[in-house]
Structures are given as structure tokens and as C-alpha cells.
Point group: C2
Chain length 380, copies 2
């Protein structure tokens, strides 16, 4: 078991009808002019926006609303919102949406204090200063509601890169799982695969038994709750358990005593969705993680065999991977790049972009040739 | 799954050779004169005290050392230390020891701000003001290193009562599991039983699947790591995993979505060790929890049956309890009050004291007669 530091200051408010508490939470923080960051408008249909605005109004807060954040959120949109936020001199940022909206809000919160936000991504140094961040989560997947990371895509250079640092922990995140019951099924699946993938980035490194057992409990819970939601999307307990597992999978706990995680698969996926922005992050990971496991299993056989045995009751890693792929298929997800709409001649560009994230693995340090081989093995 | 709020601000520094970081952590907090609270002197033998003093010295901090906190720590000792702390005007409190030392340090940290510390226990209101608290944990059991509770015994009235509140979270807790390798075996066992008991106080309430699965992962880990330590007390990975499970069992996570826990068994045990101060808290819980389970199983049969099945592979709650008792016996622990040295004519006093904690159960609300019956069933 490796040494570790653990601290996570974010307050989570979790459950039904909790969104109305956001106003008093922001008020308690002493802020008055709030930048609200949002996506393309689904929160106008499911009542979330109304609940937020009512709550801000009751707490006599002024809201400046910025709409239009897309999946695989872009540097261009981030810069646009930073300009608005800086000009208005907002006191705090409130993200209302999924991981893309939250990550954009985090980058904006840091961006008002620097000349060029992209420089923070290039520097790869911890972000120490940002506006206070609040979030209302509407899609459980990235874990961004309780961690200090954000991932943004610079489209012109095919770069999908992360920033992180102590200033990027949300102060308060509200998770009302009931608002996720209206999600399209494939978004639930992509969120589940994203959660599984976050856990696996740590798990395969091996480490302390407490965390490995905890990670296995998260992995099992995600699979069984997603199965339940496939039968009945209105199953609140399944939705809530999936949501909480998603938060716990990337709030620091799932890696305690293990290390900082491998993250090569995420690096490759960030290359994939930087080159093919229509590929959802979770869907990309569902294709890439099985391929990465098969390619890298010899680097830490005991961990991969344990996963196959404890999660899939399989005697070999190959059988474990087959079981995981069968589960993704049963959920209606893709298991090849071809199914995701990727063209074979894009593989080199994706490999270059993914390798360029600099996140090339710990369990097995990947060369750009390794990345190409993994992508090819995942093609069809 | 119930709604919940979760936030835990404590920073954990975990691993080998980490104690030397305490000085810089306290220095970073801006404190200069530190009250060091300690027990009867085991930290003088295992190098912990030397490491602490060296670290404080290097950070140019002044230490005021108060020794002599005993297991089942007393109000009298707490008051004695509060007087010293108040007279010296210390800036912060550093506990170096197990749960008793940490709980005393917490009560002292709150006590310097009030006329009578016991009034805080009688009032049962959240503690909102206390000196900054730092801890070096030397015995994993109570979880006090990462929660905001403290339990103190008022001997003259046979009251072993808790206080809690936001001000009682330690700012930083250092857990170096390697210093626990010199512990007497029965202290390891009592710590393991304490950890199991904390988890069970939540688990039997039932609730969200994520947390129930997480709790099961903690319960399994504690049992298997204690088994490993029985074979080899120097097994660092087992010691570290047990220590981390102990922290996680009572830092708020193990109850997320479940509720505030039942705590009747803890109430009864607090009566037991208030009347019989030689009974270690964990040892008392090892006797009382199985008896409480058998007495209360009809109040929430699905949860008790799930525990029997998932933890002990048993078809009935009775068989699960028998398996748990067999495990405690195999570890050399007591399974009856008689084995703990309790006399039959003390049962009424213990019941009165335990019932008087006011913590009389949620799964089944216990009357004082129920408490007497549970104690009698646990006698021999």
C-alpha cells in the first residue's frame, strides 16, 4: 500500500428536491453576482432551470446566464464565457449541467485570473486561484462535481487536455438523481462506462486491499444499477446509487493507497474525441478500455486476473474482457471504433493527438506505436 | 436511498514515515504554541514521541505536553488539561495517541471556549467553536481522526457521552500504520471489532446500494486483514488496509444515503464501560453486537439476512451471528459479558447507564427493559 494524502473539501448535497437549496448555499458564501453556466437547454425542459432561478431569486442573488456549452467542451466557448465573466466582475460561478458544463465553469473560474486560460493547460501546474465554484449536476459520469479537474478541447490543435489544482474543487455540489430519469438511455450507459473507467484507471495499478475492495464494490454497483435502469429508467434507488458511485469513483477515494492512476486509456480517448468530437467520452472509453486491457495485461497480470475473477467470475483476462464487452453490447453500447463512426484512416491522427496529451500510462508506459496498435485492435 | 449532505474537511496524511510532516502542517496553520495531548507513555517506546518532537522543533513550534489520558477517557482528566491549555493560551491542540487521546484533545479544544465543558455534553448541541485540532493516530479503532465526535466518561455519574459538531473535525490527521505493529494483539482485535461495529450501526438500517456495497467491502476487508495480522503482526499491507478501513468506517461515508445510524449498541456499550471502566470499548461491542442483532433481527429482517448471507455465507441470521462470534473467539476475543469480568448484579446499573445515554436505537427503539434483556442474553 502506497503512502497518500487525502482531502476533499467539496460539500455534497444529495437527493430528491435538493436543487432549491443552491441559493442559500451561495448566499452563505457571501456572493451576490453569479455566473450561471449551462448547456444547450435540456434543463429548460426538466424543471432544473426553474428550480435554480427560483432559488437564486429567493436568496436575492443576481444571475448572469451563459448558455451553449457542448459535449467535449471547447476552448473557444470557454474563452467567450471568461470574457463575459471578467467584464461583469462576477463573484462566483454556478455550473448547471453535466461534466462538460462543470468543466467549462471550472476553466472560466480559473480563467478570469489569467491572461490566457490555455497557458494553464500547457503549463500543467496546479491551479491555485479561481472564483468559488458551485455545481448542480444533471448527468452523473465525470465525477467533476467532487474533484479538482477539468478537461477542455482546443479544437484547432486537436488537443483535449486537463487542468487541475486545489482551487478547482467545487464548494458545494447538488446532486438530485431524480432529474436524471429523463436522460436518453445512451447517456446513462455512457455515464456508467465513464464511472467504470475511472475506477479501473486506479484499480489495475493494485495497492491497498481496502481501496481495491472499495473499487470492486463501486464496479459491481455500477453494473447492477445500470442493469436495473435498463429495465426501468424510473427506478430512483438505482439512479441514486449509480449517481453516488459515479461521484465516489473520481473524488480521490478510489485511488487512496494505489497511486495516481494509469490514465493512458483516458489519454487515448481524449485523442479520439478531440479528432472525432461526436464520439461521447464514455462511449469511447467503452471501446478503448477492453482493448487496452488485452494489450497491457502482461504488465501487471495479478491485477487483471483479479478483475476478471472478482468482477466477471472469469478464469482468464480474455474471458473477463469478453464479459465486459458483452455487457456493453447488452446495454446497446459500441465495442469497436467502427461502430462509433471512426474511419480507419483517422487512426494515426487519433494516436498522435492521444499520445500528445502526455498521459501515456504507468502500468505500461506506452509509445506512440503502442497507442496505434491499441487503436487498431479496437477498430473492428 | 435517503437524502444526505456529505462533507469532511479533514486532511489525511497516510503511510510510512509521515509523522515528521506534522510540524510543517501546524506551522502552515499559523500556530506557534501547541498543546500536545498524550496517553500513558507507549509513544515514548515506539519512536512516535521522538518523531513528533523533532518535527515540532524543526518547525520552531513550542510544545506544552500533557500526559496521562487513559482508555475510556474521563471528564476529570479533560478538565485538568483544559485548565492548563487555557492558562497557557495555546494556539492549537495536537493529539498523539488512539481514540481516547484524540477525543480528550477534541474536548479540550472545545473546552477552552466554555465555562463548563460538561455542559456541552448535556446540551447535545453542535460544537461550533474549538481550537484547531491536529492528530497523530497510533491505534486505529474509533475513527476519531477523521470525524467530528468525541466521547468522554463522567465517572461520578456513570455517564459516557458524546459531543459533536463542525468545529471538532481535525484539520490534519497523520496515520502511520507501521507504528501500530508493536501493539498488543488484543488492541488490534478490539480496534477491528470497533471498526466492524461502526459499519454495522449504519449497515443494518439499509439504504442505497452504493453505500451498502461499500460497507460490505469494509467489513470483509477488516475480517481478512485481521486474520492476516493474527498470522503475522508485521504484515504492513494488512496493517495499513485495516487502518484505512477503520478511518473510512466512521468518517461519514459509511452512512451516506442510509441515515444517521442506529447506535443503540454503542449506547449500551457506553453504559457498560462507564460502569466497568476496565472493559475496552471494542471488546464490549464484540459481546453486545451479536446479542443486539439476535434481539432486533425482526425489526429489519432483510438487512440482517443480507449481512448473514453476504458476510458469512450463512442462510440464517442465527448462523451469521454464530459465525461472527466464532471469528471473535478465533481472534482470542470475548463473546460473553462474563468473560469480560462483568458480574451479573451489575447488569441493572449498566442498563440504566446505557439507556441514559439517550441513544436507544432507530431500527428498533429500545426500552430499558429491552436493554436489560439484551444484556442478560449476552451474559454467559
Amino acid at each position: 500500500m502506497r503512502n497518500f494524502d487525502f482531502q476533499n473539501p467539496t460539500r455534497i448535497i444529495f437527493g430528491k428536491n435538493t436543487i432549491g437549496r443552491i441559493g442559500q448555499e451561495i448566499r452563505r458564501g457571501g456572493h451576490k453576482l453569479i455566473l450561471v453556466v449551462a448547456g444547450s437547454g435540456s434543463i429548460r425542459k426538466n424543471g432544473v432551470h426553474d428550480a435554480v432561478i427560483d432559488s437564486l431569486r429567493k436568496s436575492q442573488l443576481t444571475a448572469l446566464e451563459c448558455w451553449g456549452v457542448q459535449p467535449n467542451p471547447t476552448l473557444a466557448k470557454t474563452r467567450e464565457i471568461i470574457e463575459v465573466a471578467a467584464r461583469a466582475g462576477v463573484d462566483a460561478v454556478l455550473a448547471v449541467g453535466g461534466g462538460s458544463v462543470i468543466d467549462t465553469a471550472k476553466a472560466v473560474a480559473a480563467g478570469v485570473y489569467v491572461d490566457d486560460i490555455w497557458k494553464l493547460f500547457e503549463d500543467r501546474k496546479p491551479v491555485m486561484r479561481a472564483l468559488p465554484i458551485y455545481t448542480i449536476l444533471t448527468l452523473s459520469a465525470t465525477g467533476s462535481e467532487m474533484n479538482n479537474y477539468a478537461v477542455i478541447t482546443r479544437e484547432d490543435e486537436h488537443k483535449k487536455w486537463p487542468i487541475g489544482g486545489p482551487a478547482l474543487y467545487p464548494r458545494v455540489s447538488i446532486v438530485d438523481p431524480s432529474v436524471q430519469s429523463s436522460l436518453p438511455w445512451e447517456q446513462t450507459v455512457n455515464g456508467a462506462i465513464d464511472t467504470i473507467s475511472h475506477t479501473l484507471e486506479f484499480y489495475f495499478q493494485g495497492g491497498g486491499e481496502t481501496t481495491l475492495a472499495l473499487d470492486e464494490s463501486l464496479l459491481r454497483t455500477v453494473v447492477s444499477m445500470t442493469d436495473r435502469l435498463q429495465k426501468n429508467g424510473q427506478d430512483y434507488d438505482a439512479r441514486a446509487s449509480l449517481a453516488w458511485a459515479s461521484t465516489l469513483a473520481l473524488n480521490g477515494l478510489s485511488g487512496t493507497g494505489i497511486g495516481d492512476g494509469d490514465w493512458a486509456t483516458h489519454g487515448i480517448e481524449h485523442g479520439l474525441s478531440a479528432v472525432c468530437p461526436d464520439v461521447a467520452h464514455g462511449a469511447g472509453l467503452g471501446v478503448l478500455f477492453p482493448a487496452w486491457i488485452l494489450y497491457c495485461q502482461d504488465a501487471n497480470p495479478a491485477s487483471f486476473e483479479r478483475w476478471a475473477k472478482n468482477l466477471w467470475n472469469a478464469d482468464t483476462v480474455e474471458d473477463g474482457v469478453a464479459a465486459y464487452r458483452a455487457k456493453i453490447k447488452a446495454w446497446g453500447g459500441a465495442v469497436t471504433l467502427k461502430e462509433l463512426g471512426v474511419k480507419e484512416d483517422q487512426i494515426d491522427t487519433i494516436a498522435t493527438s492521444g499520445f500528445g496529451t502526455g498521459v501515456n500510462g504507468v502500468i505500461k508506459k506506452l509509445s506512440i506505436d503502442d497507442v496505434r496498435r491499441i487503436l487498431r485492435s479496437a477498430f473492428a
